[in-house]
């Protein structure tokens, strides 16, 4: 009984807070911004309601606005072609755009992003039918874009070093879930250097190609909304022993490549 009351109270508070976070005119303005934004990115292509099969996993209130984990789960649709992740109220809203290849299992993707202010996150999925489906979620965090990144010489150490971690166990023929980390400050051009008090120029991972055994897993295009040291969690279907190749590039056209044996050998 006590537990029910506590839960109910928590739910009531959360419910009120979400509704009170914006004035009605703000809701209209947010809807208008999404309209403008989707027009810029998708032109006049229709966006269908995908709330039934797209689930966005995000903290309601993020601990660190410069490092907010966002996950997208897609259920009950096959032949997913692409996924877009958008942060409505970031200056460059398109955080990530994935197009999937034959070796991908696109049903679950995770990234880490920066949030400048309380905002809607939109996930747009391009289905096998060629249609676009959208879902949204409101997330509370602020200041992630201007959070200082530390002196740039330190931030550029080991630039492009990569790590791959197994999230779910490897079984040939089944989906294997892994997290890819790329060491990179992902400077967004809005972070003030604490020493010279000027803005560190933008430099960030803007594309990556991941393939397994010569087959494409995904092509990624990213913007400055991705957190420093970009991390992407994804699924792919390994057949037997093979190699996962990652080729990434940053906005200064520096190329980074790494080959990981699958199954992953334990770190020494």
């Amino acid at each position: 009984m006590m537990k029910t009351i506590v839960l109910l109270t928590a739910w009531l508070i959360a419910g009120t807070a979400v509704r009170a976070a914006d004035l009605p005119e703000d809701q209209a303005e947010r809807a208008q911004r999404w309209k403008d934004l989707s027009l810029q990115l998708f032109g006049d292509r229709k966006l269908e309601n995908g709330a039934k099969f797209i689930a966005i996993d995000a903290p309601d209130r993020a601990m660190d606005a410069a490092l907010v984990p966002i996950g997208v789960k897609i259920s009950g649709k096959t032949g997913i072609k692409a996924l877009y992740l958008l942060v409505d109220d970031n200056p460059v809203p398109l955080a990530a755009h994935f197009t999937f290849g034959p070796a991908a299992d696109p049903r679950e993707m995770k990234i880490r992003i920066r949030l400048e202010q309380y905002t809607y996150i939109h996930a747009v999925v391009e289905g096998g039918d060629g249609k676009l489906y959208q879902a949204a979620r409101f997330v509370k965090a602020a200041g992630g874009c201007s959070a200082p990144a530390g002196p740039s010489d330190q931030a550029l150490r080991d630039l492009g070093a990569m790590k791959l971690q197994t999230v779910a166990t490897y079984r040939p023929g089944k989906t294997m879930e892994v997290q890819l980390h790329i060491r990179h400050p992902n400077f967004n051009g809005m972070q003030m250097d604490p020493i010279n008090r000027w803005y560190t120029p933008a430099r960030y991972i803007n594309q990556a190609d991941v393939s397994y055994g010569g087959q494409e897993v995904f092509h990624f295009e990213g913007g400055i909304s991705m957190s420093s040291d970009p991390a992407i969690t994804f699924g792919f279907r390994p057949k037997e022993k093979g190699e996962l190749t990652v080729v990434a590039q940053d906005s200064k056209e520096t190329r980074f490549e790494h080959v990981f044996p699958i199954p992953l050998t334990a770190a020494p």
């Binding site: 009170a20 200056p91 008090r197």
Partner: protein
């Protein structure tokens, strides 16, 4: 026990600088501004609910300039949102203020208060932001007798579940 806690808080607090703060905008701020009153969300909400509404001035800094991005990148700076009924002045809280910005600040308060030095004036920006501290000190120097500093800022207001609206910066 309570006295100890208060003493510990006092000891760890940042002392008020004698003049305006000219260091980084973001950082731990003092708990007081000489000549002004520090208020938090409940008190601010009460002030706003009064018939004789206070003058609300948001002194948040200007957003960073557009970064160098590849052509074709969709760049859409988000709107600035603050407490409804506020005026946004980007330069009013600078440690070293230009004559022009100071005139704009002085003139704006004068206009909004109708020259009434007893009218309540509230200054805010973001949490841990020295700009509103400076702006409050400056409003005291202009002769206003009821200057309020709201250090919780825009995020504190939103955290309490209060509404914000988008606004444009006030220029000359």
């Amino acid at each position: 026990m309570k006295a100890l806690l208060v003493a510990a808080l006092m000891a760890s607090a940042v002392p008020e600088p004698s003049g305006y703060w000219t260091g980084p905008n973001q950082g731990d701020t003092p708990m007081t501004v000489a000549g002004a009153t520090v208020i938090h969300t409940a008190q601010l909400a009460k002030l706003i609910a009064k018939k004789d509404k206070p003058v609300l001035i948001d002194v948040s800094p200007a957003p960073p300039p557009p970064p160098d991005l590849p052509p074709g990148t969709v760049f859409m700076p988000p709107p600035h949102r603050d407490i409804p009924g506020s005026v946004w002045l980007q330069e009013a809280g600078r440690g070293e203020i230009s004559g022009e910005a100071e005139d704009l600040y002085r003139g704006t308060i004068q206009r909004l208060t109708g020259g009434n030095l007893a009218k309540p004036v509230v200054l805010y920006c973001h949490p841990k932001c020295w700009l509103s501290w400076n702006a409050a000190k400056r409003a005291v120097s202009f002769g206003y007798r009821h200057v309020y500093w709201y250090p919780d800022g825009i995020e504190g207001w939103r955290e309490a579940g209060k509404g914000v609206t988008s606004t444009e910066v006030l220029k000359q």
